[in-house]
Symmetry: C2
Subunit: 245 residues, 2 copies
């Protein structure tokens, strides 16, 4: 169980991770503007363990999910920017008094949700930030680092690719499928602690997969749901899934 406390939200005027730009352009003769962010493309992998007939997912605390959940439980937005002009300097985020209590009281504020509200189940995934590696090679590295399975690149089958965050980032995500066995397990996985990753490897048995996918009380990405239903449609004759959607 994660212990999350001493939460403090501050303005973010410059970030190595969030890089906002504004593009001005003409669309069919009409002048327009759009704010967007540069991000890396990414890969994700649906991993199926053929020894235990389980899907291998990763589970981690996601600060953005947690803050979004917290925000939803509050009547008042962190920063009412609607009145700001686009030219105005960024305002200090207004942290309501009741939340300030939560910053120092080890998470006992009545408004602060439990840490579990920010823990999501996801496919093994990673950013495409190594220009000299193919998508498959990056996917293979993530399977090893996050989940502890060492498989050859040839075991990765592309499912498809699509656009994510079309309003903000528009980056391209490519999803792979990989079958692994207990013999491929060479480590614990868990990501790179030196880069702040604290990832738990989770097994979801095949016969529970569709129930898991559509259980909204379990926070997860669309990638998990989509890939499970893709497996159901494409692999079920081979592995005999009994549960219907």
């Amino acid at each position: 169980m994660e212990q999350i406390n001493n939460i403090q939200v501050v303005p973010c005027t410059s970030s190595n991770y969030l890089r906002p730009f504004r593009v001005h352009y003409n669309q069919n003769g009409t002048k327009k503007s759009w704010d967007f962010m540069q991000t890396h493309d990414s890969v994700s992998v649906l991993i199926f363990n053929t020894t235990s007939h389980c899907f291998i997912l990763v589970k981690q605390f996601r600060p953005a999910v947690y803050m979004s959940e917290w925000e939803r439980s509050k009547p008042k937005p962190l920063q009412p920017v609607e009145e700001e002009s686009a030219e105005a300097a960024p305002a200090e985020p207004k942290v309501p008094e009741e939340d300030k209590a939560g910053e120092t009281s080890e998470g006992t504020s009545s408004h602060q949700p439990p840490a579990s509200a920010g823990v999501t189940y996801e496919l093994c995934a990673g950013l495409v930030d190594k220009p000299n590696l193919s998508l498959e090679e990056i996917a293979r590295q993530e399977v090893l680092e996050e989940c502890g399975y060492d498989i050859p690149v040839t075991k990765l089958r592309k499912i498809t690719s699509y656009r994510s965050g079309v309003g903000v980032t528009g980056s391209k995500q490519t999803m792979f499928y990989a079958e692994v066995s207990d013999e491929n397990r060479v480590g614990e996985g868990g990501g790179k602690p030196q880069e702040g990753e604290l990832i738990e490897v989770v097994k979801v048995p095949l016969h529970e997969a569709m129930t898991f996918a559509f259980d909204e009380s379990i926070p997860k990405t669309m990638g998990v749901i989509f890939s499970f239903i893709w497996f159901h449609s494409n692999m079920s004759p081979k592995y005999k899934i009994s549960t219907n959607v």
Copy 2:
């Protein structure tokens, strides 16, 4: 065919749409920080027209997708921020000389991709930004505004919900399914031009849906692919889909 030209990228130091924050917190006793953005939750709707046996999608030019595509075709990033400290002021984005040509030459720069590279197919969708409306009511409004079908809220069936952008926004998306008929068509759709929306309503015939979904040359969101395969798994007995995934 969209005409996109006079493209100019400028720094974005303050935005009504991208609101970056930094959260400091303790996870199991270890101090950590994370940059995130506040966004609204959203709804999306898979619309199936029972008169024509077509899915109703929307198609629009997405500046973020276009810039991501452009960036991918270039050897050099817009702004090398890796050397910046987190405290440094935002730098001017470096627009390479060859791209500056594209800004004034009506899109004739050899590096500038065609406008179609930024046009994506998506589910009818909208932000949850009206606190007095239910998710179903917001979804109903979007179906009317974007696609021109007037349906009662009771026709909306929830498929599921999930987390999007877990690294950056962590917002919650809820997906609905709605069956419409030609009799429900009361307008052209197309969004709100006064808010800059320029949306084209597109029909995808049922028998072409799975081929469309997995054709990677057609830029689309995962929502389109997931909802088509969901329909395939859940509605195919009713509507006899002949195409396999």
